[in-house]
């Protein structure tokens, strides 16, 4: 899940902006197909400056033409990867409805995670296909729990309803 956090510059930013793909989309949509945008920082003449906006209202949401106000947009987003909640800072500069600069600042948590992994993980193998069970000698097999009774019936029911 993506959610913006309270940051010193409380800029609202659409979820689509919180990914490189989303930003590419924005860069290519000068016609204003994207309906959300961040509020510009009031310093379009100096794109790297970042004074706080006076409000979080967005330019694009009210602009019928769908064009974006020139300026530097900033946001901090939190997103959950499957194994952690991580934070990125996104800065992009718009000029004439074109993204002229994008900076995504990385994630110290993830860097820490990688350090831990090198210390506590003994090995990694790519794409383990495994062996057929009848080729190995074991007395038990351990995988995810078999489901019984009600769960299986309920899954069958929703599959049936989905086909109806």
């Amino acid at each position: 899940m993506i959610g913006t956090t309270a940051v010193p510059r409380p800029v609202r930013i659409s979820t689509a902006l919180l990914g490189v793909a989303g930003m590419v989309t924005l860069a290519g949509c000068s016609g204003g197909a994207s309906t959300d945008a961040a509020a510009p920082v009031e310093s379009s003449a100096a794109p790297t400056s970042t004074s706080a906006p006076s409000s979080s209202a967005t330019a694009a949401e009210t602009g019928a033409s769908g064009t974006y106000k020139d300026g530097t947009y900033e946001a901090t987003g939190q997103y959950a990867t499957p194994e952690s909640v991580e934070t990125i800072d996104v800065t992009l500069t718009l000029s004439g409805d074109t993204v002229t600069d994008v900076t995504v600042t990385g994630d110290p948590q993830a860097a820490e995670s990688r350090r831990y992994q090198s210390e506590f993980i003994g090995g990694i193998a790519d794409e383990v296909v495994g062996k057929k069970l009848d080729e190995i000698s074991v007395s038990k097999v351990a995988g995810s729990s078999l489901t019984s009774g009600g769960f299986n019936e309920a899954v069958d029911t929703i599959k049936t309803e989905a086909q109806a």
Binding site: A80, P82, Y116, I121, G122, S137, V138, K140, S148, I158
Partner: protein, 292 residues
């Protein structure tokens, strides 16, 4: 090929929503079976969020704000505190309502009621001191991260009161063995006819967890990140071996998240996990086999 263990008797049954097999050196007397059934029934009545008359349903529905503390509360919730700390909040015993929201509710609706929502901060909501298990507001306990392992330990202890010799308690994914070493295949999460490796269990427990079976839709399964309420996506299956099934089960859950490998190291436990892109990781000094 799966061969029978060197035991004389096998007893198979369904309980707590999965299949069980208990193997013992000699046939189980009926009094032992009765004792095992009673232990399972008592645990289910305390902790099942799938039955209206359970303790956790009373707290989750708001019918009660506190109840006499169940027998296994301290053992399990104390271990949850370690899981919580190790995974930075990803594992949380109040994830029941978040699971229900995704459709895994008491009526098995299996239809999401809306976007995922994080679980409540359990340390602020749930207490179990002074003989009472209490919630400060209605919240549904789900001990899925380690509860089945706890029950496997209880069943094993009960059996040892009644029979001698080798015992294997296999609750489909969670297994505890006493006596002869048991070679256990690590089932490939995407192909149940294959194994990605083998671990041997001697007077210990091996627990597996995976996202492939208890699943009810695209990306919808029972292993949630409590911080978001959304199902995990990085890892498809985990296995961990520890001295007790509760700890092995807890590790198998923690290994879906950052922090799991470090927790395993602190317990001296070995493990394997497969990411959803098919890569496999294992613990430093791993003593089993990986078929890479």
């Amino acid at each position: 090929m799966t061969t029978p263990t060197a035991t004389g008797s096998s007893w198979a049954f369904d309980a707590i929503g999965t299949s069980w097999a208990i193997e013992t050196a000699s046939p189980l007397p009926s009094i032992a079976r009765g004792a095992v059934s009673a232990v399972i029934e008592r645990f289910d009545r305390d902790w099942s969020r799938f039955r209206d008359d359970s303790v956790v349903s009373a707290l989750g529905s708001g019918r009660a704000a506190s109840v006499p503390v169940p027998a296994d509360a301290d053992a399990m919730l104390s271990l949850y505190a370690q899981l919580d700390a190790a995974t930075a909040g990803a594992v949380n015993p109040l994830v029941g309502d978040a699971l229900a929201r995704l459709g895994y509710d008491a009526r098995l609706t299996l239809t999401p009621a809306g976007d995922p929502e994080p679980a409540p901060l359990w340390r602020e909501t749930l207490t179990w001191g002074d003989g009472r298990l209490a919630v400060s507001r209605a919240a549904t306990i789900d001990v899925g991260a380690l509860g089945k392992g706890r029950l496997v330990d209880l069943v094993l202890d009960t059996l040892r009161d009644h029979v001698d010799g080798d015992i294997v308690v296999d609750a489909s994914g969670d297994l505890a063995a006493r006596g002869e070493p048991v070679r256990v295949a690590l089932e490939h999460p995407y192909d149940a006819t294959r194994a990605i490796g083998v671990m041997t269990v001697t007077d210990a427990a091996l627990c597996a967890s995976g996202i492939n079976r208890r699943s009810w839709g695209d990306g919808l399964h029972h292993v949630l990140d409590a911080r978001t309420g959304a199902p995990v996506r990085a890892f498809a299956a985990t296995w961990a071996r520890a001295d007790t099934a509760m700890r092995a089960d807890a590790l198998a859950t923690a290994l879906f998240f950052d922090g799991g490998p470090e927790l395993a190291a602190s317990w001296g436990a070995h493990w394997v996990r497969m990411s959803t892109d098919g890569r496999v990781q294992w613990s430093p000094g791993f003593d089993g086999e990986i078929f890479s």
